[in-house]
Structures are given as structure tokens and as C-alpha cells.
Point group: C2
Chain length 218, copies 2
DNA sequence: CGATTTCCTGACTTTCAAATCAGAAAATGC
DNA sequence: GCATTTTCTGATTTGAAAGTCAGGAAATCG
């Protein structure tokens, strides 16, 4: 049964096969998100996963299907974020927003593929972006925009267009993480260094987000 | 044959040949920066430029050479930025930095290809990124980092790692511009709208950069 | 155990884009 | 005008990656 049925174990003897499919998706996610859809070849993905190239076609019909399956693995990441945020639904909008930003940074360091995919496909447009908006990004972004809107209405945040603010905060937060190769090539800075990461997070939280807050509330 | 309509060049003398090559580079820059090197095909570029695919190989040896030639067209953009900044070399570091940010936004709206290229190749790494750092990005980024360093030493800016701040400000400033297709797909927002652009620029300048400045200087 | 299904691979075919080439068209020079 | 060079194109070749397939290995089941 080569239907490429998402990581969830189907019970019975899916032990080995499911793991192989998962390894393939992991390798695919890494390469797709770093290089983009066309630049990442099935040969590379197969090699990274330690399987034959033909095996990719056993588990997934074609390259597009593999791409979608790999992207769906990120749904768990988004869901976890949502779960944690809902636990704080009672706090002020600004507090929730700060928490969302912290979560976003944490997730971006742990799963850099998500931010890279947004950047890659968000610039290119087309069918894959539409698919991502439908299946992964749309609800999350709209929810965050509502949160920003609420913070503005509560007078806690300067009045900028919520959609633009959401996207810009994400771009600012994920920028350095996405641009790890540039940091290395241009400055010799290693973003794997915990000191770099901490400096980055406090820069985003203290400085950037701080600048958006209404002075009277600071 | 095809539709050789483009024949009549308005320019005189050596106008035609140079103009054709320039049109090819323009089309190449747009497509390379939006889609990335491999996703952009020579066929598309040729069609966008209104010439045959073989013509691309007449003016440029191969796809790589065309890519580099298209990138070099951006040197003029960088040089212009540098020229304007040098005119204000006497102002305080913070003033220069604000000016640099304004310039960066203006340039990013006018030449969105530059920001997209940084994002695309800066994420992927590899030979093309190294080439870009050597020929286009390196000096500019290091100069900006020095400016930030000076502003910090003058006590005008909070003390964050200059390289990280430079990259993050660029990511924040170009984020929405790069992600124009995402803004359209996810929110139906058209970044061509002047109102959107103005709101974005003031958001970046007032809020984000404002947040980085030392309170005592505000 | 043998039978059956699931999983996986090497070898092959197809497809598509990059690169080449011979020569036509247009510009330039005499 | 004719000759020469430059510019450009259609047709073709080349190469690399996607996709197919027959069958082998391994797990599962009676």
C-alpha cells in the first residue's frame, strides 16, 4: 500500500515502512525548504534518506505528492503552537502577542524549514503557495492578525495594518534564521552558536516588538 | 522569423545590440529573483525578453553567465545607495542609520529583485551566494555593520550584535516586499497600493527602528 | 513450513531544459 | 551597389532528472 499516508502509524505491520516514509519526508522537507522545489532533486532526497530513488516513487506517486506530504508534517508544529497559545487566551492581547512571538522564535529555531518554505514559496507565488495558504499558513496568519487587531483596539499596540504587521514580524523573526548561510558567508557568524541565538531572540523581543508598543503602556 | 517585429530600434548606432542584451538581463533578473536559478528556465526568460532561446546563448555563454550578468546590473543600485549615504557622512551614526534604512526601503520598493535574491541565495548557500557576497553584498553589509557599531559606541543604539542587527533590519524591511504573493494569496492585500507601501515604511521606521534606539535619546 | 502481501531496488524509458550549430536576416562598411 | 560583420533564429543534440517496471528481499500470516 503505497498511498503515502502521513506519518501516523496505521497500526498493523506499518512499523518499518512507516519509518522509511517518515525518513524520506524528513529529508525532503530539509532539501525542499533549503533549495526550493526544483533545485532539490529526488536523487539527493533519496540519498539523504538512505533509500533508492525508486523507493520514493513507491511511497509517493510523484515529486509533487512528496512535497505536499513533507509539508503536512509541519501541521503538527503549527498545531502545537496553537495549543500553547490557546492556554493563554485569557491574557491581554499584547501579552498573547508577546507569547506568540516567543513561540514563533522557538519554533523557528527548532524547525527552520517552516520559515524557509514561507519565504521561498511566498516570494514565488503559484500553485504551491496557494496550497500552503489553504493547508498550513492561512488560518494561522489570520488568527495572528486578529490578535494584533485586538491589541490595537485595546490601545496596547500602535495602529498599523494587522496583516502587514504579522508578516513583517515573521520576516524579522525568521530572517536571521533563514539566512544562516549568508551570515556564515558574509560575516563568519555561526547561527548554531547559543550566544548568537540568545542575542537574536532578545533583539527581536526587546527591541523590535518593544518599538511597536504604545509608549503609555511601556 | 517568429515575430521579429521588435526590429526597428529607436536608438542610433550601436543601440540595438546593447539594448537586446539589456532586455534579456532585465527579464532574467525578474525571473531569477522571483523563482530562483533552476526554476527560472531560459525558455521563459527568452519569451519574456521577446527573443529566441538561442539568442540568450549568443549574448551569454551559459545560464550561469547570464545570471551573473543580471546580478551585476544591481551594482548600480548599490553604488547609488552608497553615494547618497556618503553625502551624509558627517551626521551622527544614528542619523546615518535612519537614512540608510529609508534608502533601503526606497530601493527595495523600486528594485525588489535585490531583496529577493538575497533571500533566495542567502537561504540556499553555495557558490552563487559566495559570488554574491564577493561581488555585491559583502562590502555593503560590512559597511552597514560598522555604522551600527558606531551608533552603539556613541550610545545611540542598544547594544546588539551589529551583524545580526543589519541582517534582521534588512529582513524586516524587505519581508513584506518579498512576500507580495503571500500577502495577496493569504490576505488579498496588494502591495502595489501606495497606501500599503506608506503604512509599511512608517511601520518599519517609526516602530521597528524606534524600538532599537536608546530611550535616553528618543 | 509455504503462501501472500508488503517493501524495496536496479535497470530502463520518458521528459524537459540547457547547450550547440548551421545558416538566415540585418546592420555596417567599402 | 557588393562585401563583411554582427545579430539572431529554427532545428538539433546532449544531459540530467522524473517517472516506470519487472522482479528480488523481507516481513506477515495461514
Amino acid at each position: 500500500m503505497a498511498d503515502g499516508s502521513l506519518g501516523v502509524s496505521t497500526g498493523k505491520g506499518a512499523g518499518k515502512g512507516g519509518r522509511t516514509a517518515a525518513r524520506i519526508r524528513e529529508a525532503a522537507l530539509e532539501l525542499f525548504s533549503r533549495l526550493g522545489f526544483e533545485r532539490a532533486t529526488l536523487g539527493e532526497i533519496a540519498a539523504a534518506a538512505g533509500v533508492s530513488q525508486a523507493n520514493l516513487h513507491y511511497h509517493y506517486q510523484d515529486k509533487d505528492a512528496l512535497w505536499r506530504a513533507a509539508m503536512l508534517d509541519l501541521r503538527g508544529v503549527i498545531a502545537e503552537e496553537e495549543r500553547l497559545l490557546e492556554a493563554a487566551a485569557d491574557a491581554s492581547a499584547l501579552t498573547q502577542l508577546r507569547m506568540a512571538m516567543r513561540l514563533f522564535l522557538k519554533i523557528s529555531w527548532k524547525h527552520p524549514a517552516l520559515g524557509r518554505i514561507v519565504a521561498l514559496e511566498g516570494m514565488a507565488g503559484g500553485e504551491r503557495l496557494d496550497w500552503l495558504v489553504d493547508h498550513l499558513l492561512g488560518p494561522r496568519n489570520r488568527r495572528l492578525a486578529q490578535l494584533v487587531q485586538a491589541a490595537i483596539e485595546a490601545g496596547e499596540l500602535k495602529a498599523f495594518p494587522p496583516e502587514q504587521l504579522v508578516i513583517t514580524l515573521q520576516a524579522a523573526g525568521a530572517g536571521l534564521i533563514n539566512l544562516t548561510p549568508l551570515m556564515a558567508a558574509n560575516f563568519g557568524v555561526d547561527t548554531g552558536d547559543p550566544a548568537v541565538r540568545e542575542a537574536h531572540d532578545s533583539m527581536i523581543l526587546d527591541a523590535l516588538l518593544g518599538g511597536l508598543v504604545n509608549d503609555k503602556k511601556r
